[in-house]
Symmetry: C2
Subunit: 377 residues, 2 copies
């Protein structure tokens, strides 16, 4: 038998054309330790947009095809063509994570135990109607959990947990987060309150500060305020935070955070050191909301580090056993600490409409789309 | 009895005036485990200039006093006054390291054993005629070594060794160095040849490339060449270097190094990864020859780090036993691998002449001054 499955594809030609479209693939019957999952919910995360759009200028996007089989085209700016060499002319499926119902299972006990159950899955190509998965890639959700509840089970929850674990592993006792009103930021805020960890939330607008304070956040500073650097230094003095996770990447924010950390450390220093505080100050860039170059003024002594932080590399570093502990915690708290909220549910074809792309493509705070590949149209 | 010792002092007033002058201090008699060293050679390192000049604009420098008791004044730019809060209005002695003859010793066996011997010393205030030191701060030099041979025994040799050790400790197998024609750079080049380690030397002028090649350097790239990025990528492909030590700090050099490391890694990659290579690429900034902001284009994937690197923090990290091993190696190879060459020897008073400051203050490659506080005038 087998299943026929529609899925979203992204292709960038070596000539610099992005094409988004739907393709149909056949799903083979599950092997002994495999199951077929009917995907009913898969979020559009910022990390999915990188694969979906590449470096295309979405202001040039145009639509063709039909409403059932839409096609989107857009241009890659010529100077960014170097970035796509590795994926040129390949039709790539998209979608990091999702959740759905197991509709077919192999002969193994583990596979049979999942039949008819709702599971969360990870492994790419989740913007598909059906996915063949190893049982080890499935997380069985507690009774009473819907696919929409379990769709965002991996990227944001494990990133939030990974930030807190990184803080601990590297010897810090409090942390800073930027773009803190994002879905991930709200989740990190809940997690830190739950675990009694001091978190300094940096937001870009007064209304985002209000939103987080309404959710119980104690330390919120607004980078659009004139008093930003003083406010941040004060929050860093109180919390002693010396590690930050920055979703924006570009501009002066990382430099400002390091400078304010240094000022907060020096405020309590007993004697002059011309090389600054010896306390290590660390900023990890984990996103690229701001594409401009990162500019560091280096007015923060010599004990500092800046680097990229990637969830998958972090999970590889801590190892399978510790990852399993984090996954189990996510399953147990999927409707509380790690709950996500969506502004809209769309079908595969609806996700490839220009007006929808204009909304979710902006990664605006508070906007989070859910794709249901099996949504009745 | 005791000794009377002239020394160089640097004061920055809270109003923003730098004053360099000579002061005379009395040296007390040595305790049981102490010796008095008559300093005969102390280098002017880039790391000394930070304490000597602070953030003063030396283009505003003026001279007064007499030729025996010179005084230099210069202005701190008002916007940099925040940097000197910790040292304001304090008269600070200068000079990290040096060498000389033990002219008085305490009663202990260790102290008596050093009497009349030539020793290298570390501990600040080396631009002084005499220094009271603990025996543990003295490194006995092999027979036939002069104070001038042993003057630069700590900062540059241990920095070069520290870079190679850091490379090993962090799992890299080859390294990159910028401003590579400096005294330190030449030393690192000799050390790497000696130890069979691949070193990519980045210089800023064609004649510096020639200089290093003449000293046996295999990989030299010139950042002033139009083909710099291609040349660097090629050298990084051959050597596999994924760690760099940057003396300049400002501008785009760190970003270019990370980009070329990533390109060299991806050249051998088998499949596309939208997050780039998973090999960690690291740049450490250990100097500030270029004061402008550090600008990162972040076109080098996510597995990267940038940070400050400070010799003293590195030595603290590896611990006393390993430091002792490095010190012993320096003593054994002080006239070969770790030999320094000086362009001029000056007295304390001569070091405070405007025309000399104009030369050594520039930190120009190939210029290295030696102060002999007991030079006959």
């Amino acid at each position: 038998m087998g299943f026929s499955s529609q899925q979203i594809r992204s292709t960038i030609t070596s000539g610099g054309q992005l094409e988004l479209s739907l393709a149909t693939v056949d799903i083979s019957d599950p092997g002994a330790d495999e199951v077929v999952v009917r995907i009913e919910a898969s979020p559009i995360n910022p990390s999915d947009l990188g694969l979906l759009f590449g470096p295309a200028d979405m202001k040039t996007a145009s639509a063709s095809g039909s409403s059932d089989e839409p096609v989107i085209n857009a241009e890659i700016p010529p100077k960014l063509l170097g970035l796509i060499a590795g994926r040129a002319d390949q039709s790539l499926p998209v979608g990091n994570e999702g959740a759905g119902v197991v509709v077919a299972a192999g002969d193994s006990e583990a596979a049979q135990a999942l039949l008819g159950k709702i599971v969360s899955v990870i492994g790419g190509a989740m913007y598909s109607q059906f996915r063949l998965m190893k049982t080890g890639q499935c997380l069985l959700l507690p009774e009473g959990t819907t696919p929409a509840d379990g769709a965002s089970w991996f990227v944001n929850p494990l990133t939030a947990l990974g930030m807190v674990e990184t803080m601990r592993l590297e010897g810090h006792s409090a942390l800073v987060h930027t773009a803190a009103a994002s879905n991930l930021g709200q989740m990190l805020n809940k997690l830190c309150i739950q675990d009694g960890i001091d978190l300094v939330n940096i937001v870009r607008r007064p209304e985002h500060a209000d939103l987080l304070r309404g959710m119980g956040a104690k330390h919120v500073v607004d980078s659009s305020a004139e008093t930003f650097e003083d406010d941040l230094t004060a929050a860093l003095s109180v919390t002693g935070a010396t590690i930050a996770f920055d979703a924006t990447g570009g501009g002066k924010l990382a430099s400002q955070i390091l400078m304010c950390m240094e000022a907060a450390q020096n405020a309590n220093a007993k004697e002059y050191s011309r090389d600054g505080s010896t306390t290590h100050k660390q900023v990890y860039i984990y996103g690229g909301l701001e594409r401009s170059p990162t500019v560091l003024n280096r007015n923060f002594g010599m004990a500092w580090g800046l680097g990229g932080w990637l969830l998958m590399q972090f999970l590889e570093k801590i190892g399978a056993e510790d990852v399993q502990k984090l996954r189990s915690r996510v399953a147990a708290e999927i409707k509380t600490t790690f709950a996500s909220h969506y502004t809209k549910e769309v079908s595969l074809a609806e996700a490839l409409q220009l007006d929808e792309i204009a909304v979710y493509g902006k990664q605006a705070t508070g906007q989070k789309y859910l794709i249901n590949p099996n949504k009745a149209s």
